[in-house]
Symmetry: C2
Subunit: 138 residues, 2 copies
């Protein structure tokens, strides 16, 4: 029953309450569940692929107090968003490193449900895991 | 990351072509996938729960040549169906026994999709796995 490691893609996002770099409760739950119920002690048998999708800020509410005076202001805004996303992923990658599970992590922009499906087709993981958003199993 | 074993429920059915006690291609595929990609070498970390749902024979075609002369004939028919289902499950249980994975198996009657959902709520496994019926991942 040995073979290539099992590639598990996880969609992760930031906490709605605490914001970056904190992970959402459901991302944390999905990650912990994966460690405890799928990977268990077999840390060398799995590779985790963390995907963080950043949706365009629809109402711009987060940036109400920002002043944009030049194209560079938008550029720096996008860079800041990306930096925050990277910080979120860093937390997951560090955790994997501590426990000895191989991983990769990357950021994409767009509508999360569409991007996740697109990335699953592109990367073809063995398993996709996403949080339950507090909905519970039933 | 150690703890209670992960309980994986699998819906399994018989081959449409070869009939009982042979498992369907998708049941076999789902079982092999679970062994190779989820359980891997961690045979003591998982418990497999095999559920086989027997749907009532809608058109009775399989029994066109049977003659029913008494209530006992129907009883023996039901017993025969159950015996076939048990034989199917025996194959999965034997395989688990060979490789050292804990398991349980049982039969229910009814509409498979309804019975599977009902049993998931009752048994509350950590994971439900069903075959893809040859549809493939995409």
């Amino acid at each position: 029953m040995e073979g290539e490691s099992t590639r598990v893609m996880m969609g992760v996002n930031e906490s709605m309450i605490k914001g970056y770099p904190h992970e959402s409760i459901s991302s944390r739950g999905a990650f912990e569940w994966t460690l405890q119920k799928i990977i268990c002690s077999n840390t060398s048998g799995f590779k985790l692929l963390f995907l963080h999708v950043q949706a365009p800020d629809k109402d711009g509410f987060d940036d109400m107090d920002s002043v944009y005076a030049s194209p560079d202001d938008f550029k720096s805004l996008r860079q800041r968003d990306k930096a925050r996303g990277i910080h979120l992923l860093e937390c997951f990658v560090n955790r994997c490193h501590e426990i000895g599970v191989q991983c990769e992590a990357w950021i994409k922009k767009g509508d999360p449900k569409e991007v996740i499906c697109h990335e699953v087709k592109r990367v073809r993981p063995n398993l996709l895991i996403v949080g339950s958003r507090g909905l519970g199993p039933f």
